[in-house]
Symmetry: C2
Subunit: 364 residues, 2 copies
């Protein structure tokens, strides 16, 4: 089989630090003959602005489009807060997602047994929690036109963004959610504001029709986004798969991730359509952001980045066994090794980003 | 002084039940000579659809516009899930808010001492919590044009909504937030998605300029909406006043309310501009919704509706002493009386909606 291309984009803040540990795991896979990737690396976000004046060069984008999968770190930070809107670090992330066509963002919110007490919720509410949030990632208000800031005749301003969803966009992400549910607890909760927004009403109608036509065996419910935030805070275990649009997904998936107490351990996978060739674009990034406040200090937890690598092995390369190896090693490390500050616990040594990498490699 | 007009709109679900208890408190105020309102009542939402075919009649709207304050219950329920979008129950609420011009929705998220253990968060994270969320209520994606669902040439559909904010809309709600902060802990956190949406970028710029020009003595910070959801879940006491747009405010204020564990006790006040005559429109409603699942069973907690009445006395009628009387009675009832199911606790009798009303009146 031909050699697969893997692009690494560490980005800003803690991105390079946690990516360095993921690279050690990749090295180990390559050296032990478990994997054989052609690996390249590109700057992205603020790091690319500093080097090239733009957050994503044409060359970096071309590499991402040609790669069989992209492993991404994180972008942004106060250093670039004043750059113009269209070349801010986040623009690179949004452009990569859009150009790669990765529309289905899978964000697991899972509580690791060893971390039940790290949640701000009472332990009895989160023990065993395992939700999968499927967020539409290349539509909605993130990309809709018209958008921008205009100056009115009286000199004041008007800022505009447009939420747009089409039948096709809703169906394709809905299918991903229903398919995932069949391998889990077979329940999908679709989230919008159909009581206020017509785009949400269409979302609800399309999900309802798709369910009846193709997935009648799956249990479908609907919830307003405000209620979903409340239900996540009150009793998160009521959910199996949640499917929602780009903006609600941004907020609800971060909320769910935080509620687990395991934010530093949560990976994400974003998939495109299966092309006629069988190829499927894949983009992998941790849920946590660039965390500029702790960057460069060896405080970051590298496990979310490493688990994103595991998801990549499973979803993009069919290497489920390698993925499981890594996931088991993470469980073992959590059960016995020291802890990075985000998941610190009395009685466990506090260790650094690279020491966590050491512990994981020792386990592997 | 001339007699003030008060309009009651109980609405649907538990609305009429909790309003019935608020009316008992009003009666008591009138009979003891503490207040002298001309009180009228109108159907709204599903109840108005059933009676008149529309969720808000012209006459009801005219009464609301002429009233000195509106005390609102809640609207909506599965019974009206299939009515056309433009005459659904929620349309009445949105139209009332818009026509009355009540742009500043004040949503306190407060933990009552007696209810610390009712929160899903660990008690040490919520004890003493007291956040004020100021939500812009008549702009943003709730009202922006264009909006609707169109059919495309291939027969598929496209749903559109538009988020719009102008300098003036942002400034006026910003002023309300800064003024409130001065009477509290003097800190405002402004929330948007300026890293993704231009309307959010304008929001941030206008808040920053307003702060520098008129409120340099108040501490201003900015936060992305996804991060705000996480921070509320992680450490809600870091906030004093949060100011945000209509859609983010919908989600974040419900989340904050749920985290307190006191959802059945949280009122809200929505205020318009101070008119040249000194008049200021005021709209008062509990944070909780119509809760159709428990409606008609005597299970609802009437205290949020009664505390909304107290806010009305304070903000619309300058009757701070009457408001304080009611608020103190609520604290006393929580400290010793039975509990409605939402705040039930071992060792306390479970009581019904009207029994909670009895307890409160006994206290008064
Ligand atoms: C960095 C930002 C543009 C991004 C988003 O809003 O999608 C982030 O919050 C995320 O959830 O991946
Ligand atoms: C009922 C609904 C239209 C309303 C809203 O979205 O504003 C409600 O959720 C609220 O927060 O008051």
């Amino acid at each position: 089989s031909e050699r697969k291309n893997l692009l690494l984009m560490p980005g800003d803040g803690i991105g390079p630090e946690v990516m360095a540990q993921a690279k050690r795991v990749l090295d180990w896979l390559q050296k032990t003959g478990r994997a054989d990737f052609a690996i390249t690396e590109e700057l992205v976000g603020g790091a690319s602005i500093d080097a090239h004046g733009v957050p994503l060069t044409e060359a970096a984008l071309a590499h991402a489009l040609a790669a069989d999968a992209v492993l991404f770190g994180s972008v942004g930070g106060p250093k670039w807060d004043t750059v113009p809107f269209d070349i801010r670090p986040e623009a690179a992330l949004l452009k990569l997602r859009k150009e790669m066509g990765v529309f289905a963002n899978l964000r697991p919110a899972k509580v690791f047994d060893a971390l039940v007490d790290a949640s701000s919720l009472k332990p009895e509410l989160v023990r065993g929690l395992d939700i999968m949030i499927v967020r539409e990632l290349i539509g909605g208000i993130y990309f809709g036109e018209p958008r921008g800031i205009e100056t009115l005749p009286d000199g004041s301003k008007r800022g505009v963004n447009t939420e747009v969803y089409t039948t096709g966009e809703i169906e394709r992400v809905g299918r991903v959610a229903f398919e995932l549910a069949r391998k889990r607890q077979n329940r999908v909760c679709s989230v919008e504001k159909a009581n206020v927004m017509e785009s949400g009403l269409l979302w609800r109608q399309v999900m309802t029709a798709l369910h009846a036509a193709e997935y009648p065996d799956v249990q479908l419910s609907h919830m307003y986004a405000d209620n979903c935030a409340m239900q996540l805070a009150k009793n998160p275990r009521q959910f199996d798969v949640i499917v929602t649009g780009n903006l609600f997904g941004d907020i609800l998936s971060d909320l769910a991730a935080m509620l687990t107490g395991s934010l530093g351990l949560l990976p994400s996978a974003t998939l495109g359509a299966v092309e006629p060739s069988g190829r499927r674009a894949g983009f992998y990034e941790p849920i946590h952001g660039s965390a500029p406040d702790i960057a460069g200090k060896g405080l970051a937890n590298p496990l979310a980045q490493i688990l994103s690598l595991a998801l990549m092995l499973r979803y993009s390369f069919g290497q489920g066994a390698n993925a499981a190896l890594i996931e088991q090693a993470v469980e073992n490390v959590l059960a016995k090794a020291g802890r990075t500050p985000d998941i610190a616990m009395p009685g466990r040594a506090k260790i650094s980003t690279s020491e966590m990498g050491d512990a994981l490699l020792a386990e592997l």
